[in-house]
């Protein structure tokens, strides 16, 4: 059987919780109206996926998300023939589906996909806005409502995980950074249901760990980690323990660094 790709297709009916940090919603809308594909850059867990969900709700388009991985083939995106009950049936891949329905297609962590897979998005991502489906001898033209979004974390400094110029130069790039203290606190509060006091402290802790990026940590704590910690705290786990298992340990294995992080946690909680 063909590989099953994790595809979440839906028209989002309820407003996703999203707090804008800058003018990103405005810019995204402009990109959408001008049919420019969008690249979301930024560290993991800082709201890229959530933003995409929010925008598709706002613009009332279905959102199809594909989490990229190194086994993802072009057919996985475009589609393939299958035999069902003696008949061949063409099954659209997620990308094709989004093009046909005029939805948003979001390729999450695009650099994880193989290079030869990445190229199928090229004709869709320039002014041609077409998707050639070779097997069917068909060329789909994307309707104005179609939008291609990709995400990418420039933090990994590996040469292998870099986005090729030929790909990135087709996109409008929105840079996502961690929201400011007040905003991030509000986000963590909303997502976890914890009080401002605790969430504010978690955000301070996160800032401190972000200071240690490239000084022993590969990356600082993401908003996502803070939400995890806040949820554990609201479940009755002590703050120090929750921060240790949700923030410190996921960030590093280095003993000295863990010790320093433990001191930071203690100083804040």
């Amino acid at each position: 059987m063909a590989k099953v790709i994790k595809t979440e297709e839906f028209i989002i009916r309820e407003e996703p919780f999203y707090l804008a940090t800058d003018r990103e919603t405005e810019i995204f809308e402009a990109a959408y109206r001008n049919r420019i594909p969008v690249l979301l850059k930024g560290p993991t867990g800082c709201g890229k996926t959530r933003f995409m969900q929010y925008m598709s709700w706002r613009l009332k388009r279905p959102l199809i998300t594909v989490s990229c991985h190194d086994d993802l083939t072009a057919s996985d995106l475009v589609g393939r023939y299958l035999v069902q009950g003696g008949e061949t049936v063409w099954i659209d891949g997620p990308l094709t589906k989004a093009v046909r329905t005029g939805g948003f297609c979001y390729l999450d962590e695009i650099v994880e996909a193989r290079k030869d897979t990445t190229v199928v998005i090229h004709p869709l991502a320039d002014d041609r806005r077409i998707l050639p489906i070779e097997k069917r001898g068909e060329v789909l033209e994307a309707p104005p409502e179609f939008l291609l979004g990709i995400s990418y974390n420039p933090g990994y400094q590996s040469v292998l995980k870099d986005l090729k110029q030929s790909t990135r130069q087709r996109f409008l790039a929105l840079e996502f950074t961690y929201p400011d203290r007040k905003l991030e606190t509000a986000i963590v509060m909303h997502e976890s249901g914890m009080d401002e006091e605790i969430c504010g402290r978690l955000v301070i802790l996160a800032e401190k760990t972000r200071n240690l990026k490239d000084r022993g940590l590969i990356e600082g704590a993401s908003t996502r980690l803070l939400i995890h910690a806040a949820k554990l705290i609201s479940a009755g786990i002590g703050a120090e323990k929750a921060c240790s298992v949700c923030v410190a340990e996921p960030l590093t294995d280095d003993h000295e660094m863990l010790e320093a992080l433990a001191e930071l946690i203690r100083s804040i909680f």
């Binding site: 059987m1 063909a2 590989k3 083939t73 057919s75 393939r80 023939y81 299958l82 035999v83 008949e87 061949t88 049936v89 063409w90 097997k135 069917r136 400094q157 590996s158 040469v159 292998l160 402290r201 301070i204 401190k208 760990t209 200071n211 240690l212 490239d214 000084r215 022993g216 590969i218 590093t252 294995d253 280095d254 003993h255 000295e256 660094m257 010790e259 320093a260 992080l261 001191e263 930071l264 946690i265 203690r266 100083s267 804040i268 909680f269």
Partner: protein
């Protein structure tokens, strides 16, 4: 901390070392009952110290087992008297005596120490700063986001680039609260830097200064007060009060804990009724800071001042403190007598205006020097050789853009950025002219300053080695271009070392080849291939469906295991220092022969280099086999010619290896070092300094996507290894004879 062998893992404790230990006891005529008594004692110890104690007993048993029961008895007594950490410290101390002064001194020490002496061992010097320095530095970097160093001094203060803390804190018996004092002091110093106490804004200063010097800083402010010391003391307190609000917001946990500590310090302070009035005033202020509330006597002395001070807690800026200082100072100055400086506890971060001023001035000077250095370099560069540059940059020549400006100097055309413009404005343009891109009509090939620096480096390299930075942990920064490394060739040896080794290990080599061949077959499955070992079901279904649909089905229907997919390059770096003389050097060489056999079978690309040298200007890097070179007679003769040389400065060869590995295109880049332990050079490259630089160089490697693995051949692997290698994987091989077999196994595990 010698002798805390990491090799005594719990597993080992239960396994081979235990057997060895029992054997030693037997040899020394321990009967079964005595042996089981010893083992029972060991097993009953707290798991935290068990390994260390076992290691100690094991070492003792090699010399004289009769000391073992006695040592155990003392340790048992000690564990009743000392809390866990102190106990561990005491055991380490005893172990150190054994290591450094021998068995006799150890026996004396163990039998001589009585309960009283033991008890005194509990936190006698409190918590030494050096014990927590590394963690505290990371802590403060996390908090501040700055490269602040920590250093020891008699008082707590900061000069804006370093935080000075007392070398010991011994207010409390327990480590935690002593540690807390350190953290609080460091945080307070950071607040002084980040909230403008010592880094006061020029605008703010100008509002207070009567005459404004060229480069105003806080020292000019304090010079306005006739009794400078009293002004500084008052101000330090006012600022400590003000900054509490900030710290409470940033570090609420710390501030909550520190409240009790402040109270303890307050209770410690003797009341001196005969204190001079001025000093009593400052003392009162200080007590107000410790207490959070004004004491009664103080109130009588000062009227409504405490209220003003507490106002500082309402989000005040440094300006408010400065204003208040004016009022306070006048008040104090009006009191009788001379000011006898009040002695503060380490809890107050004092201000040292002169030192702050020096650092700030030095910073400004360094900035200017860098700029000037750049322009000087530019003027002194050899005349531009068109050819060399075109060769290096063939195909990617830029043309001048009409909207930009360029500096034309010594035949070079340099793109002007804001930094460059700044230098030129300062220095004038002797020898160069500025041209507009539009006027050039597309002629010439401009370069950026970065290009220029690069070119500079290439020239330097060919002339006399490559320069590398070195990490100085004391300053928390790099010494720039500190070491010079030169690549050299090993003198070929003439004995048939490789052949002999292959003969000696012929049986093992056969096994080795088999194992590594297997490895070759392990790699990943390739789908949709033209040919292969099996059908790819996905592809077949697709093709079937396609042909049903009337399409030409794909012919890529197979899967196969890919052999080329293994994309690994490995660089071996060999310690060729004098200390490897003898068995270690032999074992290293034998290991290389076996590794070469294995890698030739496997097809992974590999390179072998050795290093040694003396002092930072002579780091030698010996090529034994480059990545491009085949494993041939020449390489074999070089292996045979490997011989121990001088010292072990680990940093530069690691950095150079990383540079070489970075140029390799393989997906996985592995870096294996083989050494006999401590990095050490003839000069100051020793101890902590050498360890920290090595650790840093390895971290740099990791950060560049390279996987270092360190093999240490050392019987007495010190506890520093864990720190030195940090997050990097390493293994200690205690018996050099095992190295050749182990290394191939290690490699196999590392790459599967």
């Amino acid at each position: 901390m010698a002798g805390t062998g990491d090799k005594y893992s719990d597993e080992k404790y239960a396994g081979e070392f235990r057997e060895d230990f029992i054997r030693n006891l037997r040899i020394d005529f321990f009967d079964d009952e005595e042996i089981s008594a010893v083992l029972r004692d060991l097993d009953s110890l707290d798991s935290r110290i068990r390994q260390k104690v076992f290691a100690l007993c094991h070492t003792l048993s090699h010399a004289s087992s009769s000391l073992v029961p006695n040592a155990l008895k003392r340790i048992k007594t000690a564990s009743g008297l000392l809390p866990g950490r102190d106990l561990e410290r005491w055991i380490t101390h005893a172990y150190d005596i054994l290591d450094r002064q021998g068995i006799g001194a150890f026996a004396d020490y163990i039998s001589g120490i009585d309960d009283e002496a033991l008890r005194r061992f509990s936190t006698p010097e409190g918590l030494p700063l050096r014990e927590i320095m590394a963690v505290l530095e990371t802590y403060i970097r996390g908090i501040s986001g700055r490269e602040l160093k920590i250093a020891a001094a008699r008082e707590t203060y900061t000069d804006t680039s370093a935080i000075f803390l007392p070398a010991f804190v011994n207010r409390y018996e327990d480590r935690d609260r002593n540690y807390l004092i350190y953290k609080y002091c460091a945080a307070l110093a950071w607040a002084q830097i980040s909230q403008g106490t010592v880094t006061t804004d020029e605008d703010v200063l100008n509002r207070f200064l009567k005459e404004v010097p060229a480069e105003p800083d806080i020292s000019a402010f304090f010079r306005m007060f006739p009794d400078e010391r009293m002004a500084i003391d008052i101000f330090s307190i006012l600022e400590a009060v003000r900054l509490e609000t900030f710290l409470e917001k940033e570090l609420p946990g710390l501030m909550r804990e520190v409240k009790a500590v402040k109270r303890d310090f307050l209770n410690d302070r003797p009341l001196c009724p005969e204190q001079a009035r001025k000093s009593a005033f400052v003392e009162g202020l200080y007590r107000l800071y410790l207490d959070g509330e004004p004491a009664e006597e103080f109130q009588n002395l000062t009227g409504d001042i405490p209220g003003d001070i507490l106002m500082l807690k309402k989000n005040a800026g440094v300006e408010e403190s400065m204003k208040l200082l004016g009022i306070m100072y006048d008040l104090a100055a009006g009191l009788a007598g001379d000011y006898q400086p009040v002695i503060f506890d380490p809890l107050l971060c004092t201000i040292r205006p002169q030192e702050v001023s020096l650092v700030l001035k030095a910073g400004r000077r360094a900035r200017r020097q860098r700029l000037e250095g750049m322009i000087t370099k530019l003027l002194n560069m050899p005349d531009f050789e068109q050819q060399k540059i075109t060769l290096r940059r063939a195909g990617q020549q830029k043309l001048p853009e009409s909207g930009k400006e360029y500096l034309l100097i010594k035949g070079r055309l340099i793109e002007l950025d804001s930094e460059m413009r700044e230098i030129l404005q300062e220095r004038g343009m002797s020898g160069g002219i500025i041209v507009k891109g539009a006027d050039m009509g597309g002629a010439g090939s401009p370069m950026t300053l970065t290009d220029l620096m690069e070119e500079d480096e290439v020239i330097e390299e060919s002339a006399g080695g490559v320069k590398y930075d070195e990490w100085d942990y004391k300053r928390g920064g790099y010494k720039k271009k500190w070491c010079t490394l030169r690549e050299k060739n090993v003198h070929p040896g003439h004995d048939p070392f490789v052949e002999q080794t292959r003969k000696r290990y012929s049986g093992y080599i056969r096994v080795l080849r088999k194992r590594f061949e297997l490895l070759r077959r392990e790699p990943r499955l390739l789908r949709r291939q033209k040919d292969g070992d099996d059908f790819d079901l996905d592809a077949v279904i697709d093709a079937y469906s396609d042909s049903h649909a009337g399409l030409a089905p794909s012919e890529d229907l197979f899967m196969k295991y890919d052999r080329q997919q293994r994309s690994i390059a490995v660089l071996f770096l060999l310690d060729m220092s004098g200390s490897t003389k003898g068995w270690i050097n032999e074992a290293e060489k034998e290991s290389l022969v076996l590794m070469a056999e294995a890698l030739e079978t496997l097809g992974d690309r590999y390179a072998i280099f050795g290093f040694s040298g003396m002092k930072r200007s002579n780091c030698d890097f010996y090529r034994i086999k480059g990545f491009e070179e085949p494993y041939d007679g020449k390489v074999k003769r070089r292996i045979s010619g490997i011989s121990p040389k001088d010292y072990t400065r680990m940093g530069p060869p690691i950095r150079h290896s990383v540079k070489i590995l970075k140029a390799v295109e393989e997906r996985t880049r592995l870096f294996i070092t083989l050494s006999d332990g401590r990095p050490e050079d003839y000069d100051a490259y020793k101890g902590d300094y050498a360890i920290e630089d090595t650790r840093r160089a390895l971290t740099e490697a990791r950060e560049q996507g390279i996987h270092p693995f360190c093999i240490t051949i050392d019987r007495e692997a010190g506890s520093y290894l864990r720190h030195m290698y940090g997050e990097v994987n390493y293994i200690v091989i205690d018996d050099v004879k095992k190295l050749p077999n182990r290394i191939t196994e290690i490699y196999r595990r590392l790459t599967t």
